[in-house]
Amino acid sequence: MTEGEPDVSSTYSDQSIQPRRRIQNAPVPVPAPRPQVAGDPVQRATVFDIRDMSVTYGTKRALDATTLKIYRNLVTAVIGPSGCGKSTFIRSLNRMNDSIPGFQIGGQVLYHGHDVYARATNRVEVRRRIGMVFQKPNPFPKSIYDNVAWAPRNLGMKHDLDARVERALRGAALWNEVKDRLRASALSLSGGQQQRLCIARAIAVEPDVLLLDEPASALDPVATASIEDLMHDLKHRYTIVIVTHNMQQAARVADRTAFFSLDTSGPERVGTLVEYDDTDVIFGRPADTRTRDYVTGRFG
């Protein structure tokens, strides 16, 4: 397991940021600036501290013990070939795998220091703070407005719903395109617009983290570019983890990149974290030859 320990002073990062209360509409308080440690360009808080997380489905091992930290207000990309456990990894962060029969997880996933898989943890509450956008746009068969307003309504955030919907749609760079037809069906939008609507729907409840599972793989290049632009804006407010099989996309949008691969040394093929570092290191001077082969396109 290779993990480039980044520019972080772990002394404050784990405890200082408390998880947000259930219904809190005010913006997240920004922690007071800390004195910078010499040599550390930026202080970053840890959002996820993943320790030896391994996943099996029934008897099939999907992901080998994985240890890494995901930092606040960064875009972290997860890249790797098909079947390497990228999706398993990201879906384990907000317990979306729980409904898969035979799913078992080992190790620990600590979110702001709290175990995501602890007995006392409620997975609905987990997902309320850790939102997710999927590969295929999946708007509800409702109007554009109702898509965005649905989760706030159901979570009791009914105060000034119109403003909240507008804010979310602006946040997803969709407002100007749909402001005159909020009552139109979401299914009448193009694929790229639908995906931005799904992002708007996710940020309407003001989550702490956004997980994006190949959000642009079903989209054309123009729509992809608009999603990528969006990510640069969103990371100022949210912590973003994005799975992508498009390496250029990772290079363009991500601050940190994790490269997963299939470990074929044993009898089974198990997804393994090969290397995790700053994006320019992964793409410029990776430490592992497997990473180098993959990012230079030499991987089979």
Partner: protein, 306 residues
């Protein structure tokens, strides 16, 4: 030609030969034609049976049919004239009460099976098996069961007992068809609502059921229409020879299927004609419900698939 000879050595056939059937393809084409013809013939036979039944009922029943037939009660002591108003109203009341009992329970069972029971859950599997068995229970057995459960306690046949019997017949049909429709709702919608941190029951009420409502209604209408024509349980639980409508659920209530039976067995030609007329009314009602339900289903499919 040398290149052709070379290719056929490598491939085992001559790639430059005309593109007409070769080898055993000719035989396979014949087999395929026969199988296809058999399937088409079977389909035609099935539709033909329906057509013959419908034609016969229309031909025999049309002469009895008139506005008066629908709005007059049967003659009190047999004889000519009269209509089947009380039978129509009785059947409607029995079927509506049965549907009110079976539909909510059936839909809730389906919601439990598709949304909450994991595929490996024992209770879920037991329920699925139970529904399948329930669908296979002969309707006369349902009738006898209700006879023992309600009629023997009450000491008389009743429309209520008939409703319970029909509800038992509808229940597995409604649960099964609702399950099928709920399965059509894309998993992506459930994922989307899960990922927003909203509890599943809210997603069921505000996303999944509204998406599937057309299909659920369709399945329920088909099940209700199917039960509306059941005779055996009504014969046991609600057979009545008093022709006038009682508005009391707990007394014997006239209904179309039993009237068809008694009228067709009467020696009186007028009653016999009335039986055909009643059959036509019942058939028309059920066919109309079917067609309406299917139109509804087509609309809801479009809605689900976008």
């Amino acid at each position: 030609m040398t290149s052709t000879a070379h290719s056929s050595d490598r491939l085992g056939y001559d790639p430059t030969a005309p593109l007409t059937p070769s080898g055993n393809l000719r035989r396979r084409l014949v087999v395929s034609r026969i199988a296809q013809g058999g399937a088409v013939l079977a389909a035609i036979l099935a539709v033909a049976a329906l057509a013959v039944v419908t034609y016969d009922v229309i031909q025999q029943g049309a002469s009895a049919l008139s506005l008066g037939f629908l709005i007059h009660d049967p003659p009190q002591f047999g004889g000519a004239g009269g209509g089947i108003r009380s039978d129509i109203l009785g059947t409607a009341m029995i079927v509506v009460l049965g549907a009110l009992m079976a539909t909510p329970i059936g839909i809730l069972i389906a919601i439990y099976l598709t949304e909450f029971a994991s595929p490996r859950s024992r209770l879920g599997n037991a329920l699925r098996l139970g529904l399948d068995l329930m669908q296979g229970v002969p309707s006369i057995v349902v009738g006898i069961f209700v006879l023992g459960l309600i009629v023997d306690v009450q000491h008389k046949d009743s429309g209520f007992a008939g409703s319970v019997a029909l509800a038992i017949i509808m229940l597995p049909l409604i649960a099964r068809s609702t399950q099928e429709v709920l399965r059509l709702v894309p998993t992506a919608l459930r994922d989307a609502s899960d990922a927003l941190g909203v509890e599943r029951w809210r997603a069921i009420l505000t996303v999944i059921l509204p998406t599937a409502v057309g299909g659920i209604l369709t399945g329920s209408i088909l099940a209700i229409a199917r039960a509306a024509g059941e005779t055996a349980p009504l014969l046991v639980a609600d057979s009545t020879f008093g022709p006038h409508l009682t508005f009391n659920w707990f007394g014997p209530m006239p209904n179309i299927p039993v009237s068809i039976l008694t009228a067709s067995e009467a020696l009186n030609p007028a009653a016999y004609a009335r039986a055909w007329g009643a059959a036509l009314v019942l058939l028309a009602g059920i066919l109309l419900a079917n067609v309406g339900a299917r139109l509804l289903l087509a609309r809801s499919r479009r809605r689900i698939t976008g």
